[in-house]
Assembly symmetry: C2
Homo-oligomer: 404 residues x 2
């Protein structure tokens, strides 16, 4: 039994016309001899409508009941789409989270998948040619409805593909793949035919919002090949797969950027064991995500410590720092909301030296000052002045030969 999982997002099922396009994709796959699991999101706008409704009803809606409410969005999609399939004589049925079941923990609104009943799914695939599964939803051990958090339908699709050992998990969306960088700021951005899970994780976390990051982690863990492609064309998109030999040839796969950064520098804090914990524990306790952190070498028992937080968290972070300022001995606190992070990403850089040097020199040639550098095995990130973001992206894109 050749099994294919196809996932269609909200814009792909927004109305009857869109759903008819989706039916064509499904029919084409059936013609190729596949059995299909089709995972659908709520029709675009529907989830927001339900959230607005709940907020009218309750200032802080009960999370468990919120999930019961939100789950109606995907339920509507799968019922309507199954009608379309059956009208065409296709053996199909809808499946809600609890019917599969997709077993999750009890974290309403952001549940984690614990288990999927593969036997039951395979049994149903022997009776039906297409199972139309509601994305985003599961159920806890008491059969209460849970949801997986925003964008959770990607995760549903990958998890179902993993459970069924599907040949491929196709994620259909309104863009036609993953690009070397944001085409809106770099006209020479190109579609990437193949990208490794790790690279995709770095790209996704930077705001290349094609795939939910959790779904990529899941795909990596279970080695599920993902094909990100457009509902509205037949062109191949981007394969997100395990790193392979052919990928090594490319040193760098893409350039990402993130403008949602604010920089804080603590000037001349004590350089002693435990000082970092004293700074970052209260920040973490306030649920503020710190991204880059650098500490300069010590001068006379004092050091400068610089880190970045999301722009929206800057005020809160400064308030926390103010309270511990004397405790950590900071002589001054500098804050700058006008910064951005540009990143060079590629699994190839593991085997190539000099990637950092190329990046730094390219930025230097444009007189772009680097405030912070942070590196991982497959990524080099630089914090720069926000106004240079676009220029920096285009410069790096060209410097690593991604233009051609």
């Amino acid at each position: 039994m050749r099994i294919l999982v196809q996932k269609f997002g909200g814009t792909s099922v927004a109305n009857l016309e869109c759903m008819l396009k989706v039916r064509e994709k499904v029919s084409a796959a059936l013609d190729k001899g596949y059995k299909l699991v089709v995972v659908l999101s709520a029709m675009s706008g529907e989830t927001n409508r339900l959230i607005d409704m709940a907020q009218k009803w309750s200032p802080r809606p009960d999370p468990a009941e919120m999930d019961v409410l939100l789950a109606t969005g995907e339920q509507t999609s799968v019922a309507l789409f199954s009608m379309l399939l059956k009208d065409k004589g296709i053996k199909a049925r809808s499946l809600l989270g609890y019917q599969i079941p997709i077993q999750t923990d009890k974290s309403f609104g952001k549940a984690r998948i614990l288990d999927i009943d593969t036997d039951r799914l395979e049994q149903m695939l022997s009776r039906f040619d297409v199972l139309v599964a509601a994305g985003f939803q599961g159920c806890d051990c008491e059969q209460r409805i849970t949801t997986l958090g925003r964008g959770g339908s990607d995760t549903s699709a990958v998890a179902l593909a993993a459970a069924l050992k599907a040949e491929m998990c196709e994620i259909y969306t309104d863009v036609d793949g993953v690009y070397t960088t944001d085409p809106n700021i770099c006209s020479r951005a190109r579609k990437i035919p193949k990208i490794a899970y790790d690279e995709m994780l770095e790209m996704a976390s930077m705001g290349a919002k094609v795939l939910q990051i959790r779904s990529v982690e899941f795909a990596k863990k279970y080695n599920v090949p993902i094909h990100v492609r457009s509902t509205f064309s037949d062109e191949p998109g981007t394969l997100v797969i395990q790193e392979d030999e052919t990928m090594e040839s490319a040193m760098v796969s893409g350039i990402a950027y993130d403008k949602d950064q604010a920089r804080i520098t603590l000037v001349d804090v004590y350089d002693e064991p435990g000082i970092a914990a004293r700074v970052f524990e209260p920040i973490a306790a306030a649920n503020i995500v710190v991204d880059m952190i650098v500490q300069n070498p010590s001068r006379e028992g004092r050091t400068d410590m610089t880190f970045t937080v999301p722009k929206s968290s800057l005020e809160d972070t400064l308030a926390i720092i103010e309270k511990i300022k004397t405790d950590i001995g900071a002589r001054d606190i500098l804050a700058d909301p006008n910064v951005a992070k540009v990143s060079v990403i590629g699994v190839g850089m593991r085997n190539h030296s000099g990637v950092a040097a190329i990046a730094f020199s390219a930025l230097k040639n444009e007189n772009i000052n680097i405030m912070i550098i942070s590196t991982s095995e497959i990524k080099i990130s630089c914090l720069i002045e926000e106004k240079y973001t676009e220029l920096a992206v285009r410069t790096l894109h060209e410097a690593f030969g991604l233009d051609k």
Copy 2:
């Protein structure tokens, strides 16, 4: 554990304001020491919206998927209402059909209830003070969603009350009870404080559309007392209960009418065994519901046969009759769509003679001609010219002392 079931229809949960009124009713019952099962319908207009949507998607929507779609209506109601309860610190949770579960057969769109898991419900009632159950829905043995047909929420409520042996099943609606007749045509109609199941069945089938007929049958079978009352007042409404001694004092409880009748007379058909079957079998096969039937005594081997069908079925019925006309020997076929049925209903007439005589003479005094008479143990129905309907209802209402 004192258990109360309260059911609120679509107009009672139409919006936030209405739901807040419903919460008051629930709070008042909690204050009296009850554990509650609250059964909700979809917000008014929602079911029609979903049906319209499905019909846009498919000329004949798949019944199973239609139920998946329709079930979102009640799901939305119970989620939102549970939020309201929890905001007030009430221990509550929503329950969908499959979570209770309300086990049904596989007749999608018009499923019959087979079983309700009482143990599970009782367990949940020990943990929660209010269970907010989605009306109208159940699930089949494969956990597929089913719905009970229009107005099915009444049946859900009565079935849950029966399963839990609840003290009372309160049906809240936008009218304040069952009336001796339609107040729109008889200003002297009065609210009936108590009515027997059998009387209610006769009233309901005549278009006193306060309670779904199936729910009354269910209540009668399991002896569930029903209290029909208004969401928007605190006045007691009408108790629908088993016939008791106190009821016998009233000879007649109410006057019903039905304008959706058309009369057909087959003139001079053969009076021989099997002739009725030859007439009514093809009509039944066409799913046409025949109501009253009378046959006059035979004259020279010939007889007249008169019966009524819904006005909308008149043309179809005549077409069927036309085909068998020579076969049954009918010399003529007369049809009249301008007829109505008025009925006098009361369990008391079992023990009182002369009810029919009073009815006939009252109608005669107004010069209203009776075309057909049909009687049951607790009902006398007369077919009359449609234009006299209102006059006949008022006349009978007064003749049986219901005005005072």
